[in-house]
Symmetry: C2
Subunit: 197 residues, 2 copies
Amino acid sequence: MEVVERKQRTREQTRAGILQTAKDIARREGWQSVSIRKIADAIEYSAPVVYDYFDSKDILLDEIRNDGFRYLRDEYERLVRLYRDPEKLLYEISLIQWQFAMQQPEMYQVMYNQNGANCLAPIEESAEIKSVNEIVCRIIFTFIPKSAESIRRLYFEWWATSHGLISLSALLRHQQPLEASEQIYRETMRRFVRGLK
Amino acid sequence: MEVVERKQRTREQTRAGILQTAKDIARREGWQSVSIRKIADAIEYSAPVVYDYFDSKDILLDEIRNDGFRYLRDEYERLVRLYRDPEKLLYEISLIQWQFAMQQPEMYQVMYNQNGANCLAPIEESAEIKSVNEIVCRIIFTFIPKSAESIRRLYFEWWATSHGLISLSALLRHQQPLEASEQIYRETMRRFVRGLK
DNA sequence: ATTTTTAGTTAACGGCGTTAATATGCCTGA
DNA sequence: TCAGGCATATTAACGCCGTTAACTAAAAAT
């Protein structure tokens, strides 16, 4: 039956439309203004149809969060194939992190529950974040083969450095232009990566 | 008139009660469950009385945020009088930052709009945060007297390092015990401060 | 042709921030 | 002393919110 396939396709499109609309509203008005009713209005449906696709608003947010981590994972894997030198590789991954946060701030916000985005689903149990963790940990390991404990610690420090600079850059973007923050980010991350060996 | 003073005193108490109740609920149930009606219930009043003390929920949150930065400023000033060595001083200030974030997580959350706390009042125009900035910048300057631009940059890096580690420690607290994170925090901040000279 | 399933709606519940209208008691001036 | 005004607090209401139940109309299956 072709009709079944077509239905599944439009269903997939509606689902994607819901996710995209949520992100659009969040970008324009902030996550605090994202409501099920507004999403439904934008896709020209009534509110309850959203629940045919997502059991709750929280699950919708969780999906967006996981999309974000999936995007990062895919980009990281792409870079792994692109760069042989682990120092260069980890630096490029750092830059992707910055790029992602600046180009899709509403995704970064929901991934870290910032600025009105509040996803109650536990972030630590997300399979997507775990696979991101694994990739970066493996890169650090090929860089400096130490104990798993040491690797985890270095990863934690790398992640915290990146996340701290990104969050603070966004917070202070009206005092300190993003170009200036980006330069500091690049230099700091380069220094961090250099310091690993 | 003594009666006027007494009234002002009880008014001050009610005001403080509102702020404390908001923080209590936030600590127990998270900022997403803090509502004007719940606060009013807890202090045994009806909801509209809260508006005799705070023009809006946002202003209430802004007040809590500024209380947080005032607390930090006072603690920093205390430490300035306590330690002569700027290296030791900046390290101790870093430790206060950690202590504060762990002992009053709900305040730290509203200060940085994390985890359901969403204060729309612009953080960059807060007088309290500016005075905190000044204090730490002055300390760094007595440490290494460079241009104002360099100082601002070093301050930015110090702040981002601290904030990144604190935020990520909270995020991953179920995977990595806070004691482990605290040790990494101490060592990282010590290394940062050492690296300044 | 009739029944069943699907796709979508409207209506409703309890809770939210916020404001207007209303009640209650206290102080003051005639 | 008591009428009137002010301070204090309440209830009621508005338009949102997330979410669920009840309902309708069209399509599909029998």
